[in-house]
């Protein structure tokens, strides 16, 4: 059976890169004694895939991985066993059984929520919120993106679904996943260039809040958190 696990990553564990997070969970699952499925062969590996790699330096309340297990205890027990063995900076939030026909997390990612917060002492000058509002009222936001083939100019405005500024930060809901993955850092870089404000990447913290699938039909988005695809195991 397939299980979708939601977890959060905080504190100094933001310095652990994606591949190491994967290895971390492989070990955690073994420590917790959960009955995960392995591939065949001389060096069998766990059947495990992540929704969307989180960059080094970012924290998150909404990370997902899918795993396949032979058997599973109740969701409550699985969570307790995993959390028992977590390092500070990782916490498992939900353990849901997926319907047999569901697609894997990575392939359904459509959007993500982010919270950006300026570090103390790095908030741009007065009036940056106003500038940000103007920036987002542009019809087009063009950015240059390096690709394998060279540079490409992209319009990222359509990929920004919701936004809001507050005292020392910004809330963003943006397109994510394999089609258009908009990193908040790229948007902020574009904002800096357009506004002339000094916003180096090290001046703000990025926190991912949630990752969504799109269940909308007829061209309209209906974003639901990835965990909604599964059910708790009693």
């Amino acid at each position: 059976m397939n299980i979708r696990v939601k977890f959060r990553k905080y504190g100094t564990l933001k310095f652990i890169g994606h591949l190491d997070v994967m290895r971390y969970f492989q070990k955690a699952i073994r420590r917790a004694g959960l009955d995960i499925c392995y591939s065949e062969g001389f060096s069998p590996h766990m059947i495990m895939s992540f929704a969307s790699p989180l960059g080094v330096g970012l924290t998150s309340d909404g990370e997902y991985m899918d795993i396949r297990v032979n058997t599973s205890p109740s969701s409550g027990e699985a969570l307790a066993r995993l959390n028992e063995t977590m390092a500070e900076g990782m916490e498992v939030l939900s353990w849901k059984q997926l319907p047999a026909d569901s697609k894997n997390a990575m392939s359904v990612v459509a959007a993500a929520d982010y919270e950006l917060r300026f570090r103390p002492g790095y908030r741009p000058e007065e009036g940056w919120q106003e500038k940000f509002r103007k920036f987002l009222s542009l019809d087009q936001i063009l950015v240059d993106k390096k690709t394998k083939k060279g540079q490409k100019t992209l319009d990222i405005r359509p990929w920004i679904y919701q936004w809001e500024t507050n005292g020392d930060g910004i809330f963003l809901q943006v397109s994510a996943g394999s089609v258009h993955n908009l990193k908040p850092e790229l948007l902020m870089q574009a904002f800096g260039l357009w506004s002339g404000l000094e916003i180096p990447p090290s001046s703000f913290l990025v926190h991912r809040k949630e990752i969504y699938a799109d269940q909308g039909t007829d061209g309209r988005h209906r974003f639901v958190p990835l965990e909604a695809a599964g059910e708790d195991i009693e």
Binding site: L13, Y24, F42, S43, P44, H45, G57, A87
Partner: protein, 624 residues
């Protein structure tokens, strides 16, 4: 929430920030207000290397088993962070608490190889602890060294307050208790050092005077106070089953060099290869019992979640219950997705069977370490591996589907001739021929033989401690001979040859058999910018040469010079059990090309039986 000694900005600007944040699974956290002693345990190399070291894990576990001690880990900041810490004057910190090392009671440094000596100075320097022990006050931690290089601590004598000679399990608690008493008493630093010197196995370099002959060799080494013993006795655990072992080792977030559970099945070695320092230092051979090892394996896998387990010892094939242990692991691990990483084993039916079970034959290779090309030279070094053993083993493996072989040799061994070197190539050729004897339809493609040579470094406490060491040019010439001879072989296309630079080997030789005078060179080299010398991309031979020049130290004195039989060596004040008389005997037998039986064939009376344990008490007969 956990604090961090480094800001986010710094951590985001360096490679592998996870090296510095601590907080790994099974890392030990304590309340610093509730402990009496804070011990910073350091491996003076980068995190991934240091985290792979079993000895530190054992001591970490042992210290932290006591409520009054908090032992934390420290590794050498890589060059990127090193630069930032110097610029911003950030003191080096321990991983668990992220507190500065300079506020600890002890800084323990394990000294595993000579080429980390400049990193030891880096650790002290970044910690803002005076490099010389003589410059330290009551405000500073005591700096204590241990590990194999502490068996000749003299080149490092001025940088350490104390050395612990031998295995940490036996005396550290006594030293800690003494420290607690001393701390309460408010007595001077010197008082503690003197009292510590009276503990067996503790060496306090500042309590000894060394005088030299005009030719530069040692005339005498004398204690300057009654507490300091004339001879410092190596510490060894006598019962390996009933001692500390980390059942919950720390699991790094990033991939360490040894990213697996390590089971130390035994300590010591019965073989007596004459070039091998570990083989002499860790005598006698002491095993852990099978039931205990099984228990450790289960617990450690469950507590770490590792997907791999390996066995550690100097010569695993000599572990009497190896078969049972390995088949147990295969049963235990197979279903849980855990791999077994096999140590290099004597190639026979058993090892081939296990290898075929745990590795992909097409991807794995056979390993032989004949160390010398000819039987004559193998007799000189007492390596009991014959050409027949190798060819039979290889033949069996080739029949079983293997086609890759790795061969390890040393160049520059005592008495080595041109013929001996050429025999390396010839042996590789014979193995290749063995492969091509198999009918074509039963072979899996070509065979691949990889020959690697390292350069021989004479080490203290080995029968070869008297030996002359080659110069850089001599070493390289020898490698060229091998290379040339391999090109002459019929199956040269199946043989690949690797060798290393020789400059770092020469330096290793100087530091290994160095005396107190060499300390100045280490300091000078460090000041000139030498760091991470064991990393070829960082090694700066030119700076080291300048340092020797500046200190007026003649390198040949330590390398190519012929040593008299009765020369006093810098390390002679240490007693490792194995006697100097035995080493002398072995050196002479080597020159006579006579082999000496291993401990299980018969005891040669090396002296290590004073440790009251292990193989010396298994048997049997005395070799005349």
């Amino acid at each position: 929430m956990k604090k961090s000694a480094l800001s986010d900005e710094i951590l985001l600007s360096i490679q592998q920030p996870a090296r510095y944040i601590g907080g790994e699974v099974n890392a030990c956290r304590k309340d610093k207000e509730k402990v009496d002693i804070r011990f910073a345990m350091c491996f003076p190399d980068v995190y991934e290397i240091g985290m792979s070291h079993l000895g530190i894990q054992i001591l970490y576990d042992m210290f932290n088993s006591r409520e009054d001690i908090w032992c934390e880990r420290v590794y050498a900041p890589w060059t990127d962070l090193d630069k930032i810490m110097r610029e911003q004057k950030i003191p080096l910190f321990a991983l668990e608490s992220q507190d500065p090392v300079k506020d600890f009671d002890f800084l323990g440094i394990t000294i595993q190889y000579e080429m980390c000596y400049t990193n030891i100075l880096q650790i002290l320097d970044l910690s803002q602890i005076p490099l010389e022990a003589s410059g330290r006050t009551k405000e500073h931690p005591f700096v204590i060294g241990g590990g194999p290089c502490a068996y000749n601590p003299e080149p490092l004598a001025e940088f350490f307050d104390l050395f612990y000679i031998g295995e940490g399990e036996t005396q550290y608690f006594r030293l800690m208790d003494l420290y607690k008493e001393w701390k309460k008493s408010g007595a001077s630093r010197e008082t503690f050092l003197k009292q510590a010197a009276a503990i067996e196995g503790i060496y306090v370099p500042s309590l000894y005077d060394v005088s030299y002959h005009t030719d530069g060799t040692i005339a005498s080494m004398t204690p300057i106070c009654p507490e300091a013993p004339k001879k410092v006795k190596k510490q060894a655990v006598s019962n390996m089953t009933d001692t500390f072992y980390p059942e919950k080792p720390v699991v790094p977030f990033i991939r360490a060099t040894q990213d697996r559970v390590v089971l130390e099945i035994q300590r010591g070695c019965i073989r007596g290869c004459r070039f091998c320092q570990a083989g002499m230092l860790y005598r006698p051979l002491r095993e852990r019992s099978l039931p205990v090892l099984k228990e450790y394996a289960r617990k450690m896998l469950a507590n770490t979640g590792y997907d791999e387990i390996s066995l550690s010892s100097l010569s695993s094939s000599d572990y009497p219950k190896l078969k049972e242990l390995v088949y147990f692991l295969i049963d235990e691990c197979g279903s849980k997705g855990v791999n077994i990483s096999l140590p290099s084993l004597r190639i026979d039916t058993f090892s081939l069977d296990v290898m075929s079970k745990v590795q992909d034959i097409k991807k794995s290779s056979l390993t032989f370490a004949p160390e010398a090309g000819s039987q004559r030279l193998r007799d000189v070094i007492n390596k009991g591996l014959t050409e027949e053993d190798i060819l039979t083993g290889a033949g069996q493996a080739f029949e079983g589907g293997w086609n890759r072989v790795k061969l390890y040799f040393m160049l520059g061994l005592p008495t080595e001739t041109e013929e001996d070197r050429k025999d390396i190539a010839r042996l590789a050729e014979k193995i290749a021929e063995k492969y091509y004897e198999i009918p074509k339809d039963k072979r899996t493609g070509k065979c691949q033989i990889v020959v690697s040579t390292s350069f021989f470094v004479p080490k203290p406490f080995t029968p070869f401690q008297w030996a002359r060491m080659c110069t850089q040019e001599e070493f390289l010439d020898r490698a060229y001979v091998v290379n040339h001879e391999i090109k002459e072989q019929l199956n040269r296309k199946s043989i690949k040859y690797n060798w290393h630079e020789a400059d770092v080997t020469v330096l290793e030789g100087i530091l290994a058999r160095g005396d107190r005078k060499v300390g100045a060179v280490i300091k000078k080299a460090y000041e000139k910018g030498c760091l991470f010398d064991s990393w070829s991309e960082n090694f700066r031979n030119d700076l080291w040469m300048e340092a020797f020049e500046a200190c007026g130290i003649d390198m040949d004195f330590y390398t190519t010079r012929e040593r008299a039989m009765d020369e006093k060596f810098p390390w002679d004040f240490i007693e490792i059990g194995v006697s100097r008389a035995f080493l002398e005997r072995e050196w002479k037998r080597a020159l006579e090309e006579k082999v000496t039986p291993n401990c299980r064939q018969g005891c040669s009376g090396c002296g290590a039986s004073v440790y009251q344990g292990g193989v010396c008490h298994e048997h049997t007969r005395q070799v005349p």
